[in-house]
Symmetry: C2
Subunit: 391 residues, 2 copies
């Protein structure tokens, strides 16, 4: 038995307690909690078989009361001595995709991002389309290509047509981009024709991850009318391995910045808003190029879930939904290189080189922190990916 050593100021202190799936050596993947620089094996520490599973899904499906109870158990556990065989240094474990993704939906909830993209993709029209302030616009993405942080990203090929070309051609994307987002994972699903009221978000959504919605802008620009993005996005979406519980985000709650003109329809009105004061940072080859502020997002994750189910659609344990690119009003707060470099016309300097889109060998790391209980800060860890050449 050992007392866990939690470094002072660790973003993985007792206010956080994010869940992940890890393995050591040849053992099968299982559920752990990150505490400081350690991973606590919950099947060993708490003796419950649900944590011996290779995904968080069985635990998440047990529901809100159980999430609260386990969080209390873990809090008590790490305050005292923990069995040695339940503790692994995080540097010595392999981290896996933490949950099996059911459906994946990506929203478009930043007014700054949607306006910037509107100006870039439709320069002759109003940047925001008429529906944008009335509903959280979103679309379904490919669940099967959600990957854990650290998975290399092979540059996608596809059809793209430059404005001056008469015909499309096939080849590797030349405008490969990132989108810095948060992802939210549903723990407790709902049957058909049972919309989730906007104020019941925290009873249904288990936690949040960092999400990088890799985007091939040239493929996307050619394909996306009229049914939306497909191959420009479907090759890969990376998420961080640690799922930060919604229960750990109470101290991060802030009002939303807008929604007064127009006011949202009643099913989207929150009693108390789920705006979140989370600071992201985007590193490109080790140099920080952007600090997207989540508190600037127009729509809350509670509104997204209420919207997604208001038509009677069911939800399932493992449903993942992304916030859409997080961009603030300032240039260095933009969460996609498309915006940061204004479509490639205003390159940024990365390690002394002028850069617009991603080159082979580039690596992007997105991190985030938020206020935690007791005045400290909690961390989301990172979502990391490196670009390999097209095959």
């Amino acid at each position: 038995m050992t007392a866990l050593d939690i470094p002072a100021g660790s973003p993985f202190g007792p206010e956080n307690l994010p869940y992940g799936v890890f393995s050591v050596g040849g053992d099968g993947p299982r559920v752990g909690v990150r505490v400081g620089d350690s991973v606590v094996d919950l099947a060993v520490a708490l003796g419950s078989g649900v944590f011996a599973a290779p995904t968080l899904n069985p635990f998440m499906a047990q529901g809100f009361e159980r999430w609260v109870a386990v969080r209390e158990q873990v809090t008590a556990l790490i305050a005292g001595d923990v069995p040695d065989r339940a503790v692994h240094p995080v540097a010595g474990v392999r981290l896996h995709l933490p949950f099996e993704v059911a459906d994946y939906v990506d929203f478009y909830a930043s007014e700054h991002h949607a306006s910037n993209v509107g100006r870039l993709f439709r320069p002759d029209a109003e940047p925001l389309l008429p529906n944008w302030k009335h509903l959280p616009v979103g679309y379904h993405g490919r669940a099967g290509t959600v990957l854990v942080s650290g998975t290399d990203i092979v540059r996608p090929s596809g059809q793209r047509k430059a404005p001056g070309d008469a015909l499309p051609s096939f080849g590797p994307s030349t405008r490969l981009d990132i989108e810095a987002e948060l992802g939210f994972v549903v723990g407790t699903g709902t049957p058909l024709n049972t919309p989730v009221p906007v104020d019941e978000f925290a009873r249904h959504v288990f936690g949040a991850v960092l999400l990088n919605d890799w985007s091939a802008r040239d493929i996307q620009a050619w394909e996306y009318v009229p049914l939306g993005p497909n191959l420009g996005k479907s090759f890969a979406t990376s998420i961080s391995p640690w799922v930060v519980p919604i229960l750990a985000l109470e101290a991060a709650r802030v009002p939303l910045p807008g929604q007064t003109d127009p006011e949202p329809l009643p099913y989207l009105r929150e009693s108390r808003s789920w705006g979140l004061d989370i600071d992201l940072a985007v590193e490109w080859n080790g140099e920080e190029v952007s600090r997207p502020p989540y508190r600037e997002m127009y729509w809350s994750p509670a509104q997204m879930l209420a919207h997604m189910t208001v038509n009677g659609a069911s939800s399932r344990t493992g449903d993942l939904y992304g916030s859409g690119t997080i961009s603030g009003p300032a240039k260095n707060q933009r969460g996609a290189f498309l915006e940061l470099t204004w479509g490639g016309q205003e390159p940024v300097t990365v390690k002394g080189e002028e850069r617009s889109f991603l080159l082979d060998g580039d690596e992007v790391v997105i991190t985030a922190t938020a206020p935690g209980a007791n005045g400290g800060r909690i961390g989301f860890g990172e979502v990391r990916g490196r670009i390999l050449p097209a095959r």
Copy 2:
């Protein structure tokens, strides 16, 4: 032991042999093959545990050679005497969703449909967008709301804004529609960065089903820019319970009707086309209102799969993709009521009443047949759904 009685001219003769998942009484769901008016329990008849599963996924994952071998075994089996306890009258079984859906993608492969919708949704522009003849346009839909035929459809509610309204309002859809489609299910998935060549379609796709992509046109019209349809579609997609093997569709293969101007890019060029001569019929409250011809489709299902994976996206056992609405050139060949009634401006007569979109209590049944081996016709059964009032 009994010889199976197959009625003369049955669409479920030995050339078809579609697979489904059925249950009898309180027993758990298992895999069966439809023969005439009987269901043959494959776990009992062939003694393989893979058929005792509640979905086709484990069998489909065994791959092409195994699909061929089992089809030969079943063909031999039903030519002789079949154990009595393996045979159930189809009228006495319950049919379930035949496979667990991994990702669901819906295409838009009918030139007649895409042109009609373009004229209706964008009256001042070219009906076909510039990309349409270069790639099979498609988007991801909601896998979790794919339902088996016979499941009632509750009218969805959502935001919709009529052209004359200043603001959107919330309420039940008043323009609820169908889309008559075929769906294709992937049996053998592919890892990341391993595109499926267009000529390897039949090694990867296990079978085809009828698919009704229920669509709330008022919700869709308001939400769909710029990221495509979402809540207008995500409430329900119905499929037929019998999966017709691709192996049974050889006799239905026909050339595609177009693709000369422009010629598709090399990754979309088939050595021998997977155009399919399948005749659909749409019944509205028991009256046939349309006969959509699948042979008119511009893009083949082999091209759809090649396109979907050419960017490096993986595919999984249970991936389902829809063809998009099947419409022919004639008015009575249109596979959506939006087109059939020209946006509601030209109602059709159904059982003596003028009708445009679906009313509560309406029932829609889509059926299809195709040429089989030996000169007969094979059937897809039906996909059926009835509209219940909004909750």
